[in-house]
């Protein structure tokens, strides 16, 4: 699709702003002044002052000579930039890509936006009308290239919309300075009698380059659309973003679901084309009263399955408060990863950990109950029972060591060992009986001790002597004695065998 750009030129940006601030200035000629090399210089003049022949860069004294009653106001530093940025952000209602071009222009990437206003003319009219209502004088233009739109906005006489492919004819009668050249080059061109673009547009590019430098060739090419030009938007657009403006404000959950489904469909199609899958997505609802409601989802593995992603969002849709209504839906994929479609084994009866169905299931559960609840364990190189396994970082992480099988380990392990009363006969012998939760267990058989030392480099503490014991009912327990027998020692129950 051919791209279209719009340029808004604020003819009296700063003075308009002062007039808005001080309405008494409306019908007086005034200029803004600044100190430059020890003299006062005019940095901006309003329309009335300009009509009297006062121009930028003129010494204030000269301007006063023309009009003794001229009002001069101190300029504000960097006011241009601030104003343009604020207006460019406001312009996001017209297009998501708006950039500023100092000192007094805003560039809009209007590709695919104008038809929503009924065409380029209506689009421009709306912009001009709204800015006029605020008190700004603007000139606007739309063309295929930034260069052409810039030239037409600044110097064009007839027709502010240049239809696709006609930028070269439109440029012909414009002065050389419409090409965004530096003053030196323009002066040199004028000296040689090349006053209009048509005078030199047909010249060989090499000759132009030799005489006037690279810039003129670049600018010509950019204006004609031979060379691409990039702009720096005030609000960077998320690379994977889909928008859905609504004619009527949406207030129902069904409406939100339909909007979400549409956006997901478009986004997933795009991801499909680019062999990508999303990991984190954001669904923003812009409400009529200016508030933004947002819900976010994350997936375990890159996914572009619209149905699955919708299910993840579905759980959270109920948290959106539409209030008076939602006028704009935006779906952004904040994190996108490469995802090539894996060939599925048709004959595989059981899924592995890398299976898509499984990761979708985990996503759904994580969306409902939180990802903290879901864990997978891998062996860790520690003898201390509580540290002998660790949570895996991902579903796909492989174990680096083997699970140890050499010593019996209980099925159930208490997270903190519980104190028990024990009767044990001789040092280092297993106990004869113990009392746990008020019940007396007579020990029939026992194995042990298995001494496990505290890992001093991690934690200080006494060693544990573990015994596997079986009571008269056949139930098996894992008991341990903390510390040496002759010192201060305690007995604990730590686990239950299967």
């Amino acid at each position: 699709m051919c791209r279209r750009f719009g340029v808004i030129w604020f003819t009296y940006l700063v003075t308009d702003w002062f007039t808005l601030r001080k309405p008494e200035l409306t019908n007086t000629a005034f200029v803004l002044k600044a100190n430059s090399h020890g003299r006062m210089v005019v940095t901006a003049a309003n329309a009335l002052a300009e009509a009297q022949g006062i121009f930028l860069g003129m010494a204030l004294a000269d301007a006063r000579a023309i009009n003794p009653e001229l009002k001069a106001i101190d300029e504000k530093h960097d006011l241009n930039g601030l104003l343009l940025k604020r207006i460019a952000e406001w312009c996001i209602r017209f297009t998501p890509v708006a950039a500023i071009d100092l000192p007094d222009k805003i560039i809009l990437d209007v590709t695919g936006c104008t038809h929503l206003w009924g065409g380029d003319e209506q689009y421009l009219n709306d912009i001009v009308k709204r800015l006029k209502a605020r008190g700004y004088n603007v000139r606007v233009a739309i063309a295929d290239t930034i260069g052409a739109a810039w030239a037409i906005a600044g110097f064009g006489i007839s027709g502010l919309v240049i239809h696709s492919g006609q930028q070269s004819e439109a440029l012909l009668s414009l002065p050389a300075s419409a090409l965004r050249l530096d003053a030196d080059t323009v002066e040199r061109l004028n000296k040689l009698g090349l006053r209009q673009i048509k005078d030199f547009i047909g010249m060989p590019r090499r000759a132009l380059q030799r005489r006037f430098g690279n810039l003129i060739v670049t600018r010509l090419n950019q204006a004609l659309g031979i060379e691409e030009e990039f702009i720096d938007p005030v609000q960077p657009v998320a690379p994977y973003q889909e928008r859905l403006p609504c004619l009527e404000p949406i207030v129902t959950a069904t409406g939100i679901e339909i909007a979400l489904k549409q956006l997901l469909e478009v986004l997933c199609n795009r991801l499909q084309k680019e062999q990508k899958g999303l990991r984190v997505a954001n669904f923003k609802c812009y409400r009529v009263d200016g508030k933004i409601e947002a819900i976010e989802i994350a997936t375990n593995a890159p996914s572009r399955n619209a149905k699955h992603l919708f299910k993840l969002f579905e759980i959270k849709i109920s948290t959106i408060e539409p209030d008076l209504g939602i006028e704009l839906f935006i779906l952004e994929a904040d994190k996108v990863e490469g995802h090539t479609a894996a060939q599925q084994n048709l004959w595989q009866a059981r899924v592995g950990l890398d299976n898509g169905d499984l990761s979708e299931l985990i996503d759904r559960i994580a969306g409902k109950v939180g990802s903290d609840a879901i864990q997978r364990f891998l062996p860790d190189e520690h003898y201390w029972p509580e540290r002998s396994f660790r949570p895996a970082l991902s579903l796909q992480e492989q174990r680096t060591t083997e699970w140890k099988l050499d010593r019996p380990r209980p099925m159930q392990l208490l997270s903190t060992p519980e104190k028990i009363e024990v009767t044990a006969p001789v040092p280092d012998y297993p106990p004869m009986l113990f009392r746990y939760k008020g019940k007396l267990h007579k020990i029939k058989k026992a194995d042990g001790p298995e001494r496990i030392e505290q890992e001093w480099w991690i934690e200080e503490g006494q060693h544990r002597d573990y015994y596997t014991v079986e009571d008269e009912d056949g139930c098996r327990y894992w008991l341990f004695r903390l510390g040496h027998y002759d010192e201060d020692y305690k007995w604990f129950i730590h686990g239950f065998f299967g």
């Binding site: 899924v351 950990l353 109950v369 609840a373 364990f377 699970w403 099988l405 380990r409 026992a446 098996r476």
Partner: protein, 241 residues
């Protein structure tokens, strides 16, 4: 006349089985989950996969015994590969111990949840995921409706579900089998020192279209029927004697 009546009843029972969800899984005919002749207690003489099994437990000891038994069965199911999901309300399970029952503990995804509602929701979602080996859940309560929902989910996906219920109140559920596993003291006859292999008294309290029973099993890398072990030992002793 008598004979043909019995034939008709047998034929009708056979016809009813698929209607009740006991569809024979291809390649799993005669699957015993390592339980040996216990399989004859089940319909079609094969351990019901794609069904919900519930385990009644009293205390923590019973839970540990049930987990041991389930792990033994699960290791047989997971032999062909696959992943299981373990849903629990407390974090007392000790993954390394599963290895001694022949399961790779890293092939199990644990989900620790507090509320009953979340456990049931997660279990149902997991049971609907085709290709999982099994889903195990520890939850005290299970209403008839919830169990019916789970059963319908597994009839579609052919995933096997195990529910461990501690001190259950509601006894009317739609589960296919109901078990009670309790520990048994180890063999006194051999008089060997120390505790031996884990032993269980396996009670099959209820089985749809099967015959309940009680067996004594031992786990020594695989299930072993104790009575047979003892008798074999005695035979050997007799021969030696």
């Amino acid at each position: 006349m008598q004979n043909s009546k019995a034939d008709i009843i047998a034929q009708l029972q056979k016809d009813i089985l698929p209607l009740q969800g006991f569809k024979p899984v291809k390649g799993n005919v005669g699957f015993d989950a390592g339980l040996g002749f216990i399989k004859h207690a089940f319909p079609n003489a094969s351990f019901p996969l794609g069904a919900i099994h519930e385990f009644f437990c009293g205390g923590t000891e019973d839970v540990a015994a049930s987990i041991g038994f389930i792990a033994g069965v699960l290791s047989e199911i997971m032999k062909t590969g696959g992943v299981s999901i373990w849903i629990s309300s407390n974090q007392t399970i000790f993954p390394p111990a599963l290895k001694s029952f022949g399961i790779e503990p890293d092939k199990i995804i644990f989900i620790f949840l507090k509320s009953e509602k979340e456990i049931m929701w997660t279990m149902e979602e997991a049971l609907k995921c085709e290709g999982l080996a099994a889903v195990i859940a520890e939850t005290p309560e299970l209403s008839f409706t919830a169990s019916r929902r789970l059963q319908l989910a597994v009839e579609q996906s052919r995933v096997t579900g195990f529910i461990i219920r501690r001190n259950p109140k509601n006894l009317a559920t739609a589960c296919v089998t109901r078990w009670k596993i309790s520990s048994l003291p180890c063999d006194d006859e051999t008089d060997l020192p120390g505790v031996g292999f884990p032993r269980w008294n396996v009670e099959l309290l209820k089985v749809r279209n099967g015959t309940p029973g009680t067996w004594q099993l031992e786990w020594s890398g695989r299930f072993k029927h104790i009575s047979t072990v003892v008798s074999v030992l005695k035979q050997k002793q007799r021969k030696a004697g």
